[in-house]
């Protein structure tokens, strides 16, 4: 849906229901693609080169070569290939389709809009992906296969599933660079983009209403701060890369370049696209089934997870009873809160 939106973007002015449905579903799909783009997307280049760090399945699939021999290996390989194929198609397709959108925008055939924000995001992600992949392949960095987190300095040896003894030496320099790149990539995705996407969706789709001029100003300032932070992440990465390859780099020069980039007004396009529109706020689709059921199911899914996280974080329960009891109390309280007013009304 995200790729479809980039390639066949409906006329931004069109009020046709079909066009609105295509736009809306495309926005949501792109937002979801951003959220679901976990560290697997960093493995995409390695998928095409057969790089070992991409093939992470080891012990953690249902069928392993160790337990199930050749057939287990083939089954696992097919599954992993398919999973990686989906991720690869997604990130490559979104990258190329995003470029297509930006080209049409540049040629004044389209407006920048929300798809433009996502197009820029996927381009930036590709920079991250390539930086990470290249540094791994050049053995400048080392990341753990299961979590994607940096590997600490040390001399590691382990048996792989083929029964071979492996050894990896991670130097202090490798760990240092891994930490920087991991910090920047996760900082970019987790700490900048996710809040940015969440905010954008909340504003775009009317969860947060921005009506007064003061509210608009606050929103624009916030959006600008996010964009500046994103720019800062990338200049930092660029500096690291220049340092790796031995190119001259200097903070003042970077500041001047960033200033020049800002004066082109690109950030205004981004911020404009973040602002709410009457269409996204006021037009919605009726749920075809029981809306009441939908309301409770969604709230139960989100609310239960939220409550569970808060409860575990605060009380750290160590038994099932300690874990379940508060839920029973909560449900009882909710039922009581619903019943009591009715009873009181009846009594009166």
């Amino acid at each position: 849906m995200g790729i479809r939106l980039f390639l066949f973007l409906p006329d931004a002015e069109s009020k046709d229901k079909k066009d609105m449905a295509l736009r809306r579903s495309g926005f949501f799909a792109l937002g979801a693609a951003v959220i679901f783009s976990d560290f697997m997307i960093f493995l995409v280049p390695g998928f095409f080169t057969g790089s070992a760090h991409t093939w992470w399945y080891m012990y953690f699939m249902n069928w392993s070569v160790v337990s199930h021999g050749f057939n287990g290996l083939v089954a696992t390989h097919i599954i992993t290939s398919f999973i990686m194929g989906i991720f690869s198609f997604m990130i490559i397709g979104l990258g190329l389709a995003g470029i297509y959108h930006l080209i049409l925008t540049f040629r004044k055939k389209r407006s920048f809009g929300v798809p433009g924000i996502f197009a820029v995001y996927f381009l930036l992600m590709w920079v991250m992906i390539l930086v990470r992949f290249i540094t791994i392949e050049l053995e400048l960095t080392a990341f753990t296969t299961m979590t994607g987190a940096p590997t600490s300095e040390g001399d590691y040896s382990w048996y792989d599933n083929n029964g071979y003894l492996n050894q990896q030496i991670v130097t202090a320099e490798m760990e240092s660079l891994s930490v920087v790149i991991y910090g920047l990539t996760s900082g970019f995705t987790d700490n900048l983009i996710y809040p940015c996407v969440a905010l954008m969706h909340a504003v775009k789709f009317g969860l947060i209403r921005i009506q007064t001029d003061a509210e608009k100003k606050v929103f624009r300032v916030l959006a600008l701060a996010l964009l500046v932070a994103i720019a800062a992440v990338f200049t930092e990465i660029l500096q690291e890369l220049l340092q790796i390859i031995g190119f001259f780099n200097n903070d003042i020069i970077f500041a001047v370049i960033c200033g020049l980039v800002l004066t082109t007004g690109w950030e205004k396009k981004l911020i404009d696209a973040l602002e709410p529109e009457a269409e996204t706020v006021n037009v919605s689709w009726k749920y075809p089934q029981n809306e009441n059921l939908l309301f409770w199911v969604v709230n139960a899914i989100i609310g239960t997870a939220f409550f569970l996280q808060v409860f575990i974080g605060v009380f750290n329960p160590e038994t099932y009873v300690a874990l379940v009891l508060p839920f029973i109390i909560l449900i009882t309280a909710i039922i009581a809160a619903n019943m009591l007013p009715r009873r009181l009304r009846n009594a009166n």
């Binding site: 479809r4 080169t49 290939s81 198609f89 753990t144 382990w158 919605s284 009726k286």
Partner: protein
């Protein structure tokens, strides 16, 4: 100019209609498609969508007789009806949902969706083939067989050859056959493991005589059993340790090696303590993998308070000791820090025993009567009969109880005591007793000498009662005052208090442990309480002495 059809699919507030067929007033049946709403003629004979034009009434500017009508004031053209302006904030709910196919692929769904699916399959196929050819098509040219045989032999190798497999049988015919094809020893796992351990220990693990100062905890054993079972291994990797066994340098090296893939691999002993800083903390939980190895000595509340006071004088804090709590193990490291920190005060050479209540530490004036450490509970305490027995036995050898440090009834029977006991009883046919052997009716070789009372009394640590805040009332007594030994009693089962009180006058036990009756000014009086619920004895707690005014 939009066509009628386009107008129909354009949003107009409050004009949405229920889904389904409707018969319009003009007799034209309307139906809705999945997407949008459009009018389709169904009454046309040939089925074409030709639009029917309704004849409009013609307004004529001439009368029937051909006279041109004149406009008068009253006949002024009516102002055109103003179209109501749409409110921007008006909520519009579209009742029809487009089809999933349309949402995914849009107007181009017919070819776009298949193109995407084919692309995914091709990409998957390409990436999968690249990796397969590199890694698995011909994994080991020296192997005498096909790729299928090679990988099947890996499974056989791990089933029968791996020392971690429950089916470990290195000389199973299948394993021998595969090993022959692979050109390896059927017992390859054990051989490689030993080589690996040797290498690890020489490179990483500096074994200081197998005394790391840390032991496996029960939580650690349980966690490890779970973790290794998920990897089809078992605890034999760690030599099947039990809770309390030494967690040594080999264990640490193995742990770090096994946790690389999870983001670990660089933990220290301290990282594996409860709430330690290991990268595997989310798997370990709050129990930790290791605990401090018991030294036989634990921190007392008085000790902690003393340390905080001393540290506050130097603007330091207890982080030096890792913020221990009362009852925590007073480790060798703690003792080292203590000695280093007290050199400037004339200390620096204390042993654990020096820091016990009444110990000979050079810092005694700062420590007070409570001591920095207490003897750690072993679960066994001296009995009165035990002490008498020991005195009798020792008297036979012209020895005395100084060997045991002159313990009192209810004092902890320590590992050191047990060692002395075994060493001293070798000549009597003993020398190999455990603490359990010394309880009443125990299996000691010296049962003949011990008698029915036993040397020690077992105390269930989880069920034993405790006493606290032992003190003498009044706190500043006169010679004529009646003294009382007060304390707070606690029993986990809520059993009644069966504790016994012992009195001391000028450091010596009173006759029958009675309250000293004849007191003089300047006498030093103290008491101690041996907690008991009638079944389980606890540990003796002493009061601070009071001076008779």
């Amino acid at each position: 100019m939009p066509t009628d059809e386009e107008n129909d699919s354009t949003i107009k507030p409050k004009r949405s209609r229920p889904v389904g067929r409707k018969k319009a007033g003009d007799g034209v049946e309307r139906k809705r498609t999945n997407v949008g709403r459009r009018r389709v003629r169904t009454d046309d004979e040939n089925g074409s969508a030709a639009r029917r034009k309704r004849p409009r009434p013609v307004r004529r500017n001439t009368t029937e007789d051909g006279e041109v009508r004149k406009r008068t004031n009253s006949g002024r053209r009516r102002p055109t009806r103003r179209r109501k302006k749409r409110n921007e904030n008006e909520l519009v709910v579209i009742e029809e949902l487009p089809s999933i196919r349309f949402i995914i692929g849009g107007e181009q769904s017919k070819w776009f969706i298949p193109a995407c699916i084919i692309s995914i399959l091709l990409i998957s196929l390409y990436g999968g083939m690249v990796s397969w050819n590199l890694q698995y098509a011909d994994p080991d040219p020296s192997f005498d067989g096909t790729s299928r045989e090679y990988h099947d032999c890996i499974a056989v190798n791990f089933k029968y050859g791996s020392r971690n497999s429950s089916d470990h049988e290195p000389y199973h015919p299948d394993n021998v056959k595969c090993a022959e094809k692979q050109g390896i020893d059927p017992n390859w796992s054990e051989l490689e493991y030993q080589e690996w351990i040797t290498s690890l220990l020489s490179d990483l693990a500096v074994d200081d005589g197998n005394h790391s100062g840390y032991v496996w905890t029960e939580a650690g054993i349980a966690t490890m059993t779970y973790l290794v079972s998920t990897m089809n291994a078992n605890m034999s990797v760690y030599y099947n340790p039990g809770a309390g066994d030494e967690f040594n340098a080999t264990h640490l090296a193995l742990w770090n090696s096994a946790t690389i893939a999870f983001g670990g691999g660089n933990d220290s002993y301290e990282d594996l303590l409860p709430n330690g800083g290991t990268a595997m903390a989310m798997y370990i939980g709050s129990g930790g993998i290791v605990g401090h190895k018991p030294t036989g000595f634990i921190w007392t509340a008085v000790g902690l308070a003393t340390m905080e006071y001393l540290f506050a004088l130097n603007n330091a804090n207890m982080s030096l000791y890792g913020y221990p709590s009362e009852g925590d193990v007073f480790t060798d490291a703690h003792l080292g820090i203590w000695n280093a920190a007290t050199v400037g005060f004339g200390g620096g050479n204390d042993s654990f025993e020096s820091l016990l209540p009444g110990g000979d530490s050079a810092m005694a004036m700062y420590i007070g009567a409570g001591g920095i450490v207490a003897v750690a509970p072993t679960g066994y305490v001296w009995t009165e009969e035990g002490l008498f027995t020991m005195e009798y036995l020792f008297a036979l050898n012209n020895a005395n109880m100084s060997l045991y440090g002159y313990p009192s009834e209810g004092d902890v029977f320590t590992e050191e005591h047990l060692g002395i006991w075994n060493a001293a009883t070798v000549g009597f046919g003993g020398g190999n007793d455990s603490m359990e052997d010394l309880v009443p009716g125990g299996g000691s070789a010296l049962a003949l000498y011990i008698g029915a009372g036993g040397i020690v009394l077992w105390s269930n640590l989880t069920e034993m009662p405790t006493v606290a805040n032992v003190s003498i009332s009044p706190s500043a007594p006169a010679a004529s005052d009646q003294l009382t030994c007060t304390y707070d009693y606690h029993d986990p089962q809520g059993d009644v208090d069966a504790s016994t009180v012992r009195w001391y006058l000028n450091g010596a036990r009173t006759l029958d442990d009675a309250v000293p009756s004849e007191l003089s000014t300047g006498d030093e009086v103290s008491c101690s309480v041996l907690s008991s619920d009638g079944t389980n004895p606890g540990f003796r707690v002493h009061s601070e002495p009071v001076i008779i005014a």
